[in-house]
């Protein structure tokens, strides 16, 4: 009797496995789908659409044209003979000092003579440029 009771105790305690919930399966499926979709979208964005095959260039880029620039420089030197100074020649320009303000309160004063003009850049003798000089007179209005 004691052995039969022990067998009964062993067979009546079988436990049924717990039923898993459905949401982990759904979440895993959706995650897998989204991962595959993202991967394929990246492929298409990069131009490697698996349905179309590898990208083929539409048109080859033309090779840059070679441009040769030729610049022809002609140097022409014009020389003028220096005129003879005559007694009736016009007086050379002279320099006067002008006020820098719009409304000066005193007559214009003579300025010191500036430096001589630079030498002319010509190969032949040319008439010397007029030499600046102090003013001969201030501007004056008078009957004429």
């Amino acid at each position: 009797m004691a052995g039969a009771a022990g067998v009964a105790a062993m067979t009546t305690e079988r436990r049924r496995p717990a039923k898993l919930p459905a949401w982990p399966v759904a979440a895993g499926t959706a995650g897998t789908f989204l991962a595959a979709l993202a991967f394929l979208a990246g492929q298409v964005r990069d131009g490697r659409d698996p349905a179309l095959g590898p990208a083929v260039p539409v048109a080859a880029k033309p090779a840059p044209r070679e441009i040769v620039v030729r610049k022809i420089i002609r140097r022409v030197v014009i020389t003028h003979p220096a005129p003879r100074p005559t007694a009736s020649a016009a007086p050379p320009p002279v320099a006067v000092a002008a006020p820098s303000a719009p409304a000066p309160s005193a007559p214009v004063q003579s300025a010191p003579a500036p430096a001589p003009a630079p030498a002319p850049v010509v190969s032949a003798p040319a008439p010397p440029p007029p030499a600046p000089a102090p003013a001969r007179a201030p501007l004056t209005t008078r009957s004429s």
């Binding site: 320009p93 006020p99 501007l139 004056t140 209005t141 008078r142």
Partner: protein
């Protein structure tokens, strides 16, 4: 700032061209001499001489002559006919038929002592200058053939304006044709005393013009000078011996100065709408406007 000067005789007076850059001075001088040769009445071969001798009522004219005549007519318009460019015949009758260069000048005080009673000048009632028409489209000047033009006064201002126009792109400058002056930039101009004393005023001038008209410049005989009363055709003695006018252009300043002298002391000051001064027979200086900086 340094101004370079080129001075030379022209139009019976002394021309001074001043510019901060000397390079345009020869070109401006050539322009002055070219216009002076074209507009003088003392040369029968000039374009003005040919116009005055032409019997046709409508005469082809160059753009220069048309512009100079137009400037003279504008001066007449501005002054109500006191600055009249059609007084050549009376001028010749008064003894100014040829240039007075080299002719001894009567001292001003002697002329004042011999002059008739002072009286303001008046415009000529016929206003012959109104019959002069400039047609730029046709390139002609129309006037009654008996009307001859004298641009002696107005041409100096007109030419000063032209010369200054050539110099101005290079910076501050002044073109002075015997005292009729156009400036670009700021300058000080002294007004000469017609009696030979110290300058009567120092005038600050900026981007404008100034001109003086006076009986002292050309005096001959007992009391003859070149500023005629348009109504009578004889030299005007109005009580003013010299008038200085400021204006936007030298041509306008010249007309206003001449008209101010002819109008006499009272009405003359009113004509100096841009400023200026009058010197009376006794040396008194009357000022108009507020642009004079210093009076000597």
């Amino acid at each position: 700032m340094t101004l370079h000067e080129l001075a030379f005789p022209s139009m019976g007076t002394r021309v001074r061209l001043l510019a901060s850059d000397p390079s345009p001075l020869p070109t401006a001088r050539a322009e002055v001499e070219r216009l002076a040769a074209r507009l003088t009445r003392f040369d029968a071969g000039s374009e003005l001489g040919a116009l005055n001798a032409d019997p046709r009522p409508v005469v082809p004219a160059s753009a220069d002559l048309r512009a100079a005549v137009r400037a003279a007519l504008r001066g007449a318009e501005l002054t109500g006919g006191l600055a009249d460019p059609t007084l050549l015949a009376p001028l010749e009758r008064a003894g100014y038929g040829s240039s007075l260069l080299g002719v001894p000048r009567t001292p001003l005080r002697d002329a004042l002592a011999s002059a008739p009673a002072r009286r303001a000048a008046r415009p000529h009632p016929a206003a012959a200058w109104r019959a002069v028409e400039v047609d730029d489209a046709a390139g002609t000047i129309a006037r009654p053939p008996a009307v001859r033009l004298d641009l002696g006064g107005s041409a100096k201002g007109f030419i000063a304006d032209r010369a200054a126009g050539l110099l101005a792109p290079y910076g501050p400058c002044a073109a002075d044709c015997g005292g009729d002056m156009r400036v670009h930039g700021a300058h000080e101009v002294l007004a000469e005393d017609p009696f030979g004393g110290e300058p009567v005023a120092a005038i600050a001038l900026c981007d404008g013009a100034i001109a003086t008209s006076g009986a002292d410049a050309r005096l001959w005989g007992a009391a003859s000078h070149h500023l005629l009363d348009p109504a009578t055709g004889v030299p005007a003695w109005t009580g003013v011996v010299s008038a200085t006018a400021l204006a936007p252009t030298a041509a306008e300043a010249e007309a206003l100065a001449k008209a101010a002298l002819l109008a006499g002391p009272g009405a003359g000051l009113a004509l100096l709408r841009h400023g200026g001064l009058l010197v009376l027979d006794d040396g008194t200086v009357l000022r108009a406007g507020a642009r004079e900086a210093v009076a000597a």
